[in-house]
Symmetry: C2
Subunit: 333 residues, 2 copies
C-alpha cells in the first residue's frame, strides 16, 4: 500500500475540500494507496463524519496541532511551527513512514519545508515546481512554475532534466521534447542567462533538447517540431504565464457571456472550458527534492485534490524518485 500524507489544514477551504478530495480519490482511483490525514484530529474527525461512505480502514489521522498560514514567512514558519501539519506531514516521509506529501497550503512554505526536511538530490541546487499546462495536443510541463524567480543557466538545465524524467516516467512520453522558452528561435536570442543555458542544454545528454521555443509554440504546437513536452524558463516567466493562462477561460466566459446563453451548454464549448480550467489538473510536483511532494493551488477544489492524490500515487508507483536520483548520478559521473 502506497502511503500518501495529505495536509488537511492547508488550502483556502481546508479541511472541507481536502476531505472531499480524499473521498473522491478513494471512490474513483485504484485501491493501491492509503491516506494519512495530517492536522487537528477533532477538526478532521468532524469533517470525516459528514461522509459515512469513506472507507476509514484506508485513512489514518496523524495529529498536528498547528497550521502554517498563507501569510507566514516560509523558512521562519518551518522552524517555528514544528507541530504544523506541513512539518509533521513532511517529517513522516523523511522518517520513512510515508511515501508522498500533498498540500494546498502556503506554496513558499511547502517548497522550503520539502527542501529542508526531505533534502535535495545530489546535483540539484534548487527544487522546481513543475506545472502542467493543458493544451489541445497534450500537457506541456512548464518548469519552473514560480518557485525560483531568478535562475542560473545550471538551474535551467537541471529543470530540463527533472521535467524530462517526470514526463517520461509519470506522463508516459517516450522521448519528451524539451524547449527553452525564448523571444525567438535563433540560437543567439535572449539575455545572457538564457543564451548560456541554450549552449549547456545542447551539450546535455539524456534529454531531447529541441532548441529555443516561443510563446506561440506552447498551446497549439510548434510549426516544425510539433508538440513540446517540457518548456524550460525561470519561475518569474513561468508563474506569470501560468496565471495568465488560468485567466483565458475567465475572459472567454465574459466574452461569450455577452451573447447567447445556450452556447455555454454546447458540448464542445463545455469541453473547451473544462480544458481551460486548471483545477482539473491537480497538483504540481515539486521536482528535485528526495521523495514526493505535491503543491496544490490554495483555491483548489476537491477534484484538484483527487487528481493530486492520483499524481502522488503514480509518482510513487513508477519510482519517480529513484529515477531522478539515477539521472543525476549519471550526469555527475
Amino acid at each position: 500500500m502506497i502511503r500518501v500524507a495529505l495536509d488537511a489544514m492547508g488550502g483556502d477551504h481546508a479541511p472541507r475540500v481536502e476531505i472531499e478530495g480524499l473521498r473522491l480519490a478513494l471512490r474513483d482511483l485504484p485501491a493501491t494507496f492509503r491516506v494519512q490525514l495530517v492536522g487537528k484530529p477533532d477538526v478532521i474527525e468532524a469533517e470525516l463524519g459528514l461522509y459515512p461512505d469513506i472507507d476509514r480502514a484506508r485513512v489514518d489521522i496523524v495529529p498536528a496541532s498547528d497550521v502554517v498560514g498563507m501569510g507566514d514567512k516560509p523558512l521562519a514558519a518551518i522552524r517555528r511551527k514544528p507541530n504544523s501539519s506541513l512539518v509533521v506531514g513532511l517529517t513522516l516521509q523523511a522518517k520513512g513512514e510515508s511515501d508522498a506529501f500533498i498540500s494546498a497550503g502556503n506554496t513558499g512554505a511547502i517548497l522550503a519545508g520539502s527542501t529542508v526536511l526531505l533534502g535535495l538530490h545530489n546535483g540539484v541546487e534548487r527544487a522546481s515546481v513543475a506545472t502542467a499546462f493543458p493544451t489541445a495536443l497534450g500537457p506541456v510541463l512548464v518548469l519552473d512554475g514560480g518557485a525560483n524567480v531568478d535562475c542560473s543557466p545550471r538551474e535551467l538545465v537541471c529543470f530540463a532534466r527533472l521535467g524530462s524524467v517526470y514526463m517520461r516516467d509519470v506522463m508516459g512520453v517516450a522521448s519528451p521534447a524539451v524547449g527553452l522558452l525564448n523571444v525567438g528561435e535563433e540560437d543567439e536570442k535572449g539575455g545572457a542567462v538564457v543564451r548560456e543555458a541554450f549552449g549547456a542544454l545542447k551539450e546535455t545528454n539524456g534529454i531531447r533538447f529541441v532548441g529555443n521555443i516561443e510563446g506561440r509554440d506552447m498551446l497549439a504546437g510548434h510549426a516544425k517540431l510539433g508538440h513540446i513536452d517540457v518548456a524550460v524558463c525561470d519561475g518569474f516567466v513561468g508563474n506569470i504565464l501560468l496565471k495568465f493562462y488560468e485567466s483565458v477561460g475567465r475572459m472567454l466566459q465574459l466574452l461569450l457571456g455577452k451573447g447567447d446563453p445556450a452556447l455555454f451548454r454546447h458540448p464542445d464549448v463545455v469541453r473547451a472550458f473544462e480544458f481551460l480550467d486548471y483545477s482539473q489538473y491537480g497538483g504540481a510536483p515539486l521536482l528535485g527534492v528526495k521523495g514526493i511532494s505535491i503543491i496544490c493551488h490554495g483555491a483548489s477544489p476537491s477534484n484538484a485534490i483527487k487528481h493530486a492524490i492520483r499524481v502522488a500515487v503514480q509518482s510513487v508507483d513508477v519510482q519517480l524518485d529513484q529515477h531522478i536520483q539515477a539521472e543525476f548520478a549519471q550526469g555527475a559521473a
Copy 2:
C-alpha cells in the same frame, strides 16, 4: 494633411498586403492623411495598378532601391543599406518631410533605425514596443513587447510613463491604471530589478501606479482593481506572453474543431475568435523615440496595415510626440 510613410517592402507578403492595407485605409478612414509609399517604384507601381479605386492624389511614391531582410543584423543593416525602404522612410521623418513611419519588416532593424535616425526623447534610455492585448474589458498595453530582453528598474519606470501617456492620449483612457507584472501582489515579490522598480514606480508622479499585478489580472481584470490599462514588464516576459496569447485562438480552434463544425459559424464564437486574432489590432507603436514609428508583425494581413495607419494618424493628430516630450521634461525638472 498628415503624412504617413509606409514601408512598402517590409513584411513577409510585401508589397501586396501593404498596398491592400493602404487601399482599405484610404477607403475606410477619415481623409486627414496622405501616404508615402517607400520602396522600389516599379514594384509599387505594378501593385498599385491592380487597384484602380485607389485615390492616387493621396499617395506619393518615395524611391528606395534596397530592402532590409528579415535575417539582416539590425545595426549593420541600418549602416550598410542607406537606400533601404526602412532607412529612407525614417529619414523622411527625421528631415521633417513625414509625420509617421510604419513597417512590417525586421523588428530589430525598425527599432535600431528609429532609435538612430529619429533619436530618443531626453530621459528615455531605450525605446519600447508597446503591444495592445485585446481583452474583454478593453486593451491592456504591455511594455515592453520584446525590444529589450533585460531591463533596469529605471527603464521599467520609463515604460510605465510612456505607456501611460499613450493610453491617455491615443486610447482616450482618462487616468490609466499601471501595474507591474510580478509573481504576486505583495510589495516584496519578484527579483531585485522588479523589487527596485516597484519602489521607484510608487514614487513616480504623473502615473496611476496600482502596484504589482499577476498574469491572471490581465485578461479578465483584477479582482479589486478592475481593468489594468498598462502592464509593465521586461521584453523577455512581454514577448513570450504576447506570442502565447496569439496561440490561444489557434488552440481553441483545434479544440472546437474536433466537434461540431456549425459551432464556428455561431456569431458569439466568431466574435470570440475575432477577438483573439491579433491581426485585428494593427501595429505596435515604438514609444520613446522622437516622432512616430509603428512596428507591424511580419505576417500582418492588410487589415493590420490599415489599423496601423489609423494608429499612426491618431498619434500625430493628438500630438503624442509632444506630450511624451513634455512628460519627460517635467520628470527631469
